[in-house]
Symmetry: C5
Subunit: 305 residues, 5 copies
């Protein structure tokens, strides 16, 4: 994710890093050249291009804006839901850790430590499943060798960690160190973590319906290609400039939508999963009273992973 | 559901599979021919078609875009709600299975196995009720012969499975192997499964209000038929091209809406219910420690069932 | 509610049943005649109507579309919320019935039967309060004569049924046949039924703010009446056709909004409350093992009550 | 709130009561006169006003419609949320009363009566805090003289009533007449009532951001003032009529938004808080078996307070 | 936050305080001068600027309005979610305080006082973490010196307070003064407070995707700069006025969006966090029966902090 302050007025015209511009520079340039060619032709053959076409393109451009606006909202909603799920992850992991620490630490320090270890591993496991990041070595040492083996073998380590947590809780109820009436106070957070995992996987594995993508990509490109034909006669040599500005808006929003629609990818504007996982690790370790606590992740070139 | 990567620039112009184009090719072609005829007429009888009509059509086209945008959102919301319900199904089935396994397996292995069997059957039962798919044989063997008979006889096997699960839980409370205070921890998931079933059936049996369909279908077709009359004079032989591009956008979104509005059908872009059911089966079997675990379903020609 | 398959291409032009057309046929016809008169006048007195007015009307029509789009969404949301509440009713009634049957039937068959009777009566009571439908005789026999009398006397029979259910549960806790720790598992569904009733009554008794209705009705009619003045000069004898098509879209959406905004009425597109109540009755009777089970309701002329 | 049936076709043109028209009559009239003056000037000085300006105004009017549409949705959402909260109030008050009556009345009639008294007072207290309405005398007699004094002294009587309810419940748990495991069944409704109060106060004390109001008011007025300049040349003496119809739509939606944005005020379209409070009182008194039960409030001149 | 009544008609034209105007005065003025220069040039060199360009700009302006409308909604939603979270904070803090007071005060006055002290500190800790405000001295005295030290040392004092509350509750369960079955009634509010903190931090640390900002800022400025070129010929000396009015709308909405998007900042329209924290302090102190109760915060120059 790009983390930058709002640009000042004069920065607007040259800021590139964090902009969507580099990704669409090539199509924009091509469209500019194409528009210039059209204007040249219009000069050579007056009357070749219809003068009254602007109105038609106006209508079609507005229709496209409405549909792009819809696609934009749908993409942004996916991105924001991804963020919301990772916000909920922070909450549920912290709450479960707090309750475990408060209830078990005074009498069963070892159980509390073990449970907090599983909790701080969970976000890394989820990030691993969503984006393929590997587990940090320092964090794997929370598990016994046997558990590490089990985790490496399963395709779904996040669920395996939740199962371990459930077993810890059920064991505590059975041996009497947790009243049955309080079991749900804890289990509710484990279920919430499972819910977060399910929601993230749903986002990850269900793209927007493919034809939206195809249909809008196609019509936007058609529109940008036909636009100079309509503008050449009335606007003359302003045509390439206007074509590029319009195309910048349309293709830029398209390209941004394509990034946001997959919030768990590793494109520039995707969510900083690792930084969030690290933040949870820090909270849980502080709670447990660990001596070595890692630093929060810092953005590199305004970008957080 | 179609599962494909985002198309590259040059693929945009020839990708067909996964596109909505084949479904609307015939109307598009007809409209193109009609537009060509109109241009011919306009050439034979200059002045037959009004020149100032573009503005009117512009307004009407924008009004239609706004209404189509609304219908599009409503359809997409239905599709996404369907997806959300099946995501919740994954979650609740997994959570209930986890809790049953953790609590019952150490002391009542048989009860745990039986309950997990009912859980992995549930998604197939739901798919059966929503889409008419039959139960895989390998999965039916989770039930006793008597239960299988009962399931075949009832019109609502999903509810029957939930009732069996409730009976298992109530039995466990009565015989003392589950504290009454923990009953709700389990029952909450059974109720959630019932809620998912109710939400899916609501989607399945309540279409969008019929007149939306009719009204928008009609006005979109009228619009596309009248459009060449307005374009013929100002645009000349560009008319068929522009008509086809505009109609591609409008009819394409219409056709896509018609598919998404019924997310549980078996059209190309509908949800992969069977693949999700298989995924749940795999999770539950792994949890139970089964030896034979089926493979996840793979898309055929980019399509997942 | 109208239940029909999507119309085929050629049906679009003649399907009437389920269409909104009959309701707005008269205004459409009047507008067509009015448009024809305007065109006649324009022929007699050239220059009487402004030629440049199309642009103004274009803007005003788009503004109206945006506001109609808003009203349309608000109406559809009300309709869909009504549907959602009746979907939740199916869920909660079934879940409560399932839990009562599972817990009480083995030891207190009579209490279970009585409670399931109240549950299957509840949807009819709600339908009665929302739409004035009377109770089916076969269903009233679930109550004792005294209870029937009480139900007939109160203006709010649905709440009275919920109170009976609460009393059954409290009684069971007091006499020890239901552990206090499980009471909430049951009560949660009774509260949910009360919540559904409250939500339905809120929809039923709070219309959209009256001035929306009035303001939009008025401006839509003004717009349709003024439209021929603007079109007469540029479009000539196409004016009546275009006026009718535009008015069909606008008045049609208006008329549909007026129906959807009251989802519990008995207009053609309102919700099939009785069919849903019957469906719940069937589920509950099957669960209880009744011998006589009614048939699901069938649509008559594509219409479900 | 205005409660009226949908107007018939011919009523559209003269219904005033319940319309927003009276509130904006003066600005509309002024704008009409202003437009007439502009047309006069345009007649005296042909060429003084640009002929091509309609297109610019068209764009600006559409932009304004989009922003007004946004503001309209935001206002309507606030109004509907207010309604939803008062709907939830009906639900939670009734549910809590039902549970108290069912559980306490058979053994502790006095406690049940006292608690139901606090419940029926709560909606009046909330109305008092939101709108300054005073408590009906008949309702204050539910409290002891000491409690009445406390209620009069505190700036937040609604919270004080909830605290009394909580104390009743805690007392019942302590003295053993309510099992601790059932405490949450009751407390959940008290918390819900507190939640309703918090949500209503949030709506009441957080207006829409002030600049939206100012910015949109200003641009709408500018637009309506400049509009005749653009219309005078092309439309001639139709200008005042068109200006008034357009301004009626824009100013009318603005004025309506201003009313809906504060749903708890006492303007014509605000929510009928007192009628709802009276409805709850009736339900609770019926439940408790009171002999004197007040009548529901009736609308006066179609208006409910 | 600006707290002012709706402006009267004539105030519309001069109210500045609370308006967004001062922030965009400089760009507006520059644009006005630029527009005047363009009109001058157009006078010197007739034909230098295209006359038919208005239609293109019309389309582009509408497209921008649609995208700005989207951004506007997203910003307003963030602002409103911030408000909703602080509304929930009021609710949960009050509810937890009420339950603690009711349950513990009669038997364990000291524990109740201590817990209420932590509760009234929590909103200040949250405000501190979101906006850097320091703790009021009078409020810190609720803690022991050791706790104060711990709070000063941790980067996350809000979580530390919640942990103290959890420890109080767990201690009470362990020593038998709180039945285990009631533990969740209290813990549910502590978890809710943690949820509010997580939601606020999510809003605070996740800006809108940076390219939206950049892309829309850029295209809005481009649009406003190019607009006079299109208007100069048809509108003449009305151009600067129209340019400024259009730019006021667009840049004003942009500037407002930039403020609302960070609801926890200290710009004029951001949320009054301190006033809310003070309000909670007052409620909790009244509940506890403190003798010294601070006054609610008053707006200064219509502005609440």
């Amino acid at each position: 994710m790009i983390v930058r302050p709002v640009p000042r007025f004069w920065e607007l015209f040259y800021v590139l890093q964090g902009s969507i511009l580099p990704q669409i520079a090539l199509p924009l340039l091509s469209l500019g050249i194409w528009a210039a060619l059209v204007v040249l032709c219009a000069g050579w053959m007056p009357g070749a291009f219809p003068t009254a076409a602007v109105s038609t393109f106006s209508f079609f451009g507005i229709a496209l804006s409405i549909f792009l606006g819809f696609r934009n909202s749908a993409s942004y909603d996916r991105w924001w839901e991804g963020r919301r799920q990772f916000g909920a992850l922070v909450l549920e992991a912290r709450s479960l850790a707090r309750e475990c620490q408060v209830w078990f630490a005074p009498t069963q320090k070892e159980r509390a430590d073990r449970m907090l270890g599983r909790i701080l591993l969970f976000p890394y496991a989820l990030t691993h499943q969503l984006r393929g990041d590997s587990f940090p070595q320092s964090v794997l040492s929370e598990l016994t060798a046997v558990e590490r083996g089990g985790l490496a073998a399963t395709p779904d380590p996040a669920s395996a960690l939740l199962q371990m947590l459930s077993e810890d809780l059920a064991g505590a109820v059975r041996e009497g160190s947790l009243p049955a009436a309080m079991h749900q106070s804890f289990e509710i957070h484990v279920s919430a973590l499972a819910g977060i995992q399910a929601a993230c996987e749903r986002l990850r594995h269900t793209p927007l319906p493919y034809p939206y993508l195809l249909l809008l990509h196609r019509t936007v490109y058609f529109f940008c290609l036909l636009l100079p034909l309509a503008l050449a006669t009335p606007l003359g040599w302003l045509t390439p400039l206007v074509t590029i500005v319009v195309a910048y808006t349309f293709l830029g929003l398209e390209a941004l939508s394509d990034e946001l629609v997959e919030p768990f990818g590793s494109a520039a504007h995707d969510l900083p999963l690792l930084a969030i996982a690290r933040g949870i690790e820090i909270s849980v370790r502080q709670l447990r009273g660990d001596r070595e606590i890692p630093q929060p992740m810092e953005p590199e070139h305004y970008r957080l992973m």
